[in-house]
């Protein structure tokens, strides 16, 4: 422990240990300047209990792998400072909600990304004649601006964890997958508009969204999946009225 840490003192963090059944275990961690929640978890794993399981990669808010529930709120832990989220010096760290817990702070992300597949979250090339030519994309067009607004998703599943509709209906595609499809629907190079809209309009699709806006509130990239989902509702409605779906 460094002298700096000793001068600042220690604090106690509670971390979930186990799977569906388990318990919170308390650890005493030294305070440090600009300390993030990921720093805290790493300290516990490296200095206090090597058996603690958690997931991270880039440490700089790009990879989306370190999301956890901190004091009841889903957050990207590498960019979440202890000082900003501690309530009366108290910190409780749990795995993300709405996903199966593998162990401790690690959740199984498969259901989350499976829903991207179900929602046709992959680019569908337009007809082969156009593939040889460079696509002319007007940056100021309304469609491109709509796509750009949602394109920076890092797939951290914070929105999925925050979504009450996912908690109520485990089949619901969720904010991230629907946001992804909205970017594709607005991509002039994508040729699968009808497939995309049909995939997101079923029992578990965009029409199930209640517009609670938890996804928008907690998205670490300040994206607005609620607006994307509202866009999908409008687009599917227009498509049905025009007889395209």
């Amino acid at each position: 422990m460094t002298e700096q840490a000793t001068q600042r003192g220690d604090f106690v963090v509670e971390i979930w240990r186990g799977k569906d059944s388990g318990e919170f275990v308390s650890y005493r961690v030294p305070k440090r300047a600009s300390q993030t929640i990921l720093d805290v978890v790493s300290h516990v794993q490296r200095r206090l209990d090597p058996s603690l399981s958690y997931r991270f990669a880039c440490r700089v808010g790009m990879c989306g792998s370190c999301a956890m529930t901190v004091n009841g709120v889903p957050r990207w832990t590498c960019r979440t400072h202890v000082d900003r989220v501690a309530k009366d010096g108290h910190i409780r760290i749990e795995p993300l909600r709405n996903l199966p817990v593998i162990r401790d702070l690690v959740v199984d992300m498969a259901p989350f990304f499976d829903k991207w597949q179900r929602a046709t979250g992959q680019f569908i090339p337009s007809d082969s004649d156009n593939r040889q030519a460079f696509a002319q994309v007007e940056p100021d067009s309304r469609e491109r601006q709509e796509a750009d607004a949602g394109i920076e998703c890092i797939g951290c599943a914070v929105c999925y964890s925050a979504c009450d509709v996912v908690a109520w209906n485990s089949d619901y595609l969720g904010p991230a997958a629907l946001n992804r499809v909205w970017t594709l629907v607005n991509d002039s190079r994508d040729g699968g508009r009808t497939e995309h809209l049909a995939a997101v309009a079923g029992d578990a699709g965009c029409h199930q969204c209640h517009s609670h806006q938890a996804c928008m509130t907690y998205c670490p990239k300040d994206l607005n999946p609620t607006a994307a989902i509202a866009g999908l509702k409008r687009a599917t409605t227009k498509s049905v009225l025009r007889g395209e779906l």
Partner: protein, 111 residues
Amino acid sequence: MNSRTEIWLFIAQRASAFVMAPLVLIHLGTMIYAIQGGLSAQEILARTEGSTLWGAIYGLFVVAVAIHAPIGLRAIVREMTPWSGRTLDVAAILFGATVIVLGVRAVRVLI
């Protein structure tokens, strides 16, 4: 239920809500007007019956509610209980039909 049907249900619910919004305000105004001078059913009917306009307004209200409420209840039941599928769809349709029957019986008195 397929995507197309789900979108039509969404459109039906939004369209019926669009119709109901002004009718609710008219209904509140009617209530304030109708209870002046007594609160019994006979006294209220004395001030509202025999009017084609009131009959048309409440008739439209009944139709809008009969569309809007079953769709909303179906969504709530699917989210809050394990019940879903064809039996729930049929139950929602029956609920809408019940609203229509009871509503039309009530509105007929006004005309």
